[in-house]
């Protein structure tokens, strides 16, 4: 009986596909990792918005951080004969078998936010991710431009030791400031990507650098650590954003709140909109057969106080960060 229903569904699907392309509504299955962070929640809500904007029927499956759930979800998407599958892979390996099934069913797969093991490059259409080395570079370039020629001692709040994002954001920043001998990272410690540790580490930086007077700028690998560091600076009687420049990465709503208060200077966005470019790529592929590049890099946009932080805060706070 279920088989019959499946045949019927496929037949209707084939009929729909036979109609002119403009009339067919795309159905896309999205295997999302689960609620691991505020950013992930924002990505899910932005994906829904982007799909609604393009009148795409987006089916989201929450995998609760488990690969086997993602594989199950992909198999069920294949059975439903969706037009494309989006996958935010929870781990980088172990996808070959299920992606081959999708390929045999001629369903294009687009990776969102994270890449998978290189052996599977021909198994997906494209990957939409940000470049965390580039994010660090954007932060470093902004600081170099803002400081100008004067000497500047920077303290750095690193992400969790060993996390690839932390390593890359450090690398990018170091590359950007290497061209400017007046910029120097004098202290660098891990704040584990959390507010509490960011605050504790910043407190010790301030003590170690003569009450913070010799610190010219703080670079944090994410906004949460910067929010903690801003509190530490205020408690030490310093004025973050004025005495000490701040630049961090992610663009979560709370950093815009700090910007409105004049306590933060700049943030580099890790956009939660990975689905937008992916939807465009799939639409182009379906309509005209345009094969996109293997990697679509999302924009790492820089935001400063000049970008109306209040407006951005209002637009972002409802996304579930």
């Amino acid at each position: 009986m279920t088989l019959k229903a499946l045949f019927a569904a496929t037949a209707t699907g084939a009929l729909l596909l036979a109609l002119p392309a403009s009339a067919a509504q795309l159905t896309i299955g999205f295997s999302q990792i689960g609620s691991e962070s505020g950013w992930r929640a924002a990505e899910t809500s932005v994906s829904k918005q982007e799909a609604a904007k393009r009148k795409v029927n987006l089916k989201i499956a929450d995998a609760q951080q488990k690969q086997e759930n993602q594989i199950k979800a992909i198999r069920s998407f294949i059975a439903q004969n969706v037009d494309a599958i989006f996958l935010a892979p929870v781990v980088s390996t172990g996808w070959d078998a299920v992606l081959k099934e999708a390929k045999e069913a001629k369903i294009p797969v687009v990776l969102l936010d994270r890449d998978i093991d290189p052996s599977g490059k021909d198994l997906y259409l494209t990957a939409v991710t940000s470049d965390s080395v580039h994010e660090g570079e954007v932060a470093g370039d902004w600081l170099a431009k803002t400081v100008g020629a004067k000497a500047c001692n920077i303290v750095e709040l690193q992400g969790t030791v060993g996390a690839s994002v932390a390593t890359n954001r450090k690398k990018g920043f170091d590359t950007a400031i290497a061209k400017h001998p007046n910029l120097k990272v004098v202290r660098s410690q891990t704040g584990d990507f959390t507010r509490a540790k960011g605050k504790e580490v910043m407190e010790s930086f301030i003590k170690a650098e003569g009450g913070g007077k010799s610190i010219c700028a703080v670079y944090a690998h994410n906004d949460d650590m910067m929010v903690g560091a801003i509190q530490a600076m205020k408690e030490a009687g310093l004025k973050p954003g004025k005495d000490i420049l701040t630049v961090s990465i992610d663009a979560v709503p709370d950093i815009f709140k700090a910007m409105v208060a004049g306590e933060a200077n700049a943030t580099v966005e890790l956009t939660p909109n990975m689905a937008g470019p992916a939807l465009d790529a799939v639409a182009a592929f379906k309509d005209k057969g345009t094969v996109p590049q293997k990697w679509i890099q999302t924009e790492s946009k820089l935001y400063t106080a000049a970008d109306d932080p209040q407006k951005i805060y209002d637009s972002k706070k409802g996304l579930g960060y």
């Binding site: 609620s35 962070s37 505020g38 929640a41 690193q158 030791v161 202290r187 660098s188 410690q189 891990t190 584990d192 959390t194 507010r195 509490a196 605050k199 504790e200 580490v201 407190e203 010790s204 930086f205 003590k207 170690a208 003569g210 949460d224 929010v227 903690g228 509190q231 408690e235 030490a236 009687g237 709370d254 579930g320 960060y321």
Partner: protein
């Protein structure tokens, strides 16, 4: 001589002095103190302030360990109480916020105590349940976000000062005195030690061991809930994913550094808190030293090993000297 040299705790005090001296060496301004907005400001204050959550946890943990138990759920209880406090802070007054957060701690403690004393589960397994589930509960309360608040009362609890002393430090000191007065001012401490030393013999001798075990788990969770409120007040927000994460291990370590055996029996509140301070003095020193963060855990492990070796009567010549001194006195 015994009046000058405490019977126990010499190794811990010595360890603290050595670590303080090392901190002074890596950071010459370590002992500098000044007033900043009516609040003492300096690395020493950081040690006390940052050490507060673990010190509070160790106050409860030491009693649990004295009954031969262990509580792995304290970090999760911190996350729950912090989440509750942050969610209520902007709509309710401080008394209600505190009552709700500490009430949640009380419930968590009753749950742990029920599993261990009534159902007779192994403490490590019984509290593992809440360790895992508790963080999930906290995430449900915050909906996975960092819940921020601006209520000045609750913020004061984390960042305010009483006569220059940060409020969290004053609270921890108050809790130490309160716990000490209750436990050592009565026979309660002795009964707890008896329960841990030999539960069956104590039961036969008329000690209400079940009630003792229930009471220590409840107290441990209340201490954890208080630590959770302070941790949330400190960053003006509740971060359910990270608040109190792995702090149960730091609390157990503090108790062990404080010389209390994991096999139960004799315990010392003051030395457990001293253990927490030793851990934090080391952490702050590592942060001040400017070493690359890759070394943090390695340095920590070496120092902990050294402190524990110092306490080992067989390995430390120091211990035998003290023992000989005592023997001659006696």
């Amino acid at each position: 001589m015994t009046a000058l040299l405490p019977r126990r705790g010499l190794a811990q005090i010595l360890a603290l002095i050595v670590i303080l001296a090392v901190d002074r060496a890596v950071s010459p301004q370590f002992f500098d103190l000044r007033l900043q907005d009516g609040r003492l400001f300096g690395s020493l204050i950081d040690v006390l302030n940052r050490g507060t959550p673990v010190a509070l946890l160790s106050l409860g943990m030491v009693l649990v360990i004295a009954t031969r138990g262990i509580d792995l759920s304290v970090g999760a209880v911190m996350a729950i109480s912090g989440a509750i406090a942050a969610s209520l802070a902007d709509s309710h007054g401080l008394p209600i916020v505190l009552a709700a957060a500490l009430g949640a701690g009380l419930l968590c403690g009753l749950w742990n105590g029920f599993l261990v004393s009534v159902l007779g589960m192994q403490p490590i397994v019984a509290t593992l349940i809440l360790m895992v589930a508790g963080r999930g509960i906290a995430q449900l309360i915050t909906e996975g976000r960092i819940v921020t608040f601006s209520s000045p009362d609750l913020v004061w609890l984390g960042n305010g000062a009483v006569l220059g002393v940060p409020v969290p430090v004053a609270i921890a000191l108050g809790m130490l005195i309160l716990t000490g007065a209750v436990v050592r001012g009565s026979a309660l401490g002795l009964l707890i030690e008896a329960t841990g030393g030999n539960a069956r013999a104590s039961e036969l001798a008329g000690v209400g061991t079940r009630a003792m075990i229930m009471a220590v788990y409840v107290w441990c969770s209340i201490c954890a809930a208080l630590a959770g409120v302070i941790a949330a007040a400190d960053i003006m927000g509740a971060d359910a994913n990270n608040a109190g994460l792995w702090l149960e291990l730091d609390a157990i370590l503090a108790v062990v550094i404080g010389g209390t055996s994991l096999f139960g029996g004799r315990f010392s509140l003051v030395l457990a808190v001293l253990g927490a301070l030793i851990i934090q003095t080391m952490n702050t020193g590592i942060l001040l030293s400017g070493y690359p963060p890759e070394f943090n855990l390695l340095v920590k492990a070496v120092v902990v090993l050294a402190v524990l070796l110092l306490q080992s009567p067989k390995l430390s010549g120091f211990g035998s000297i003290v023992a000989r001194l005592r023997r001659t006195k006696a």
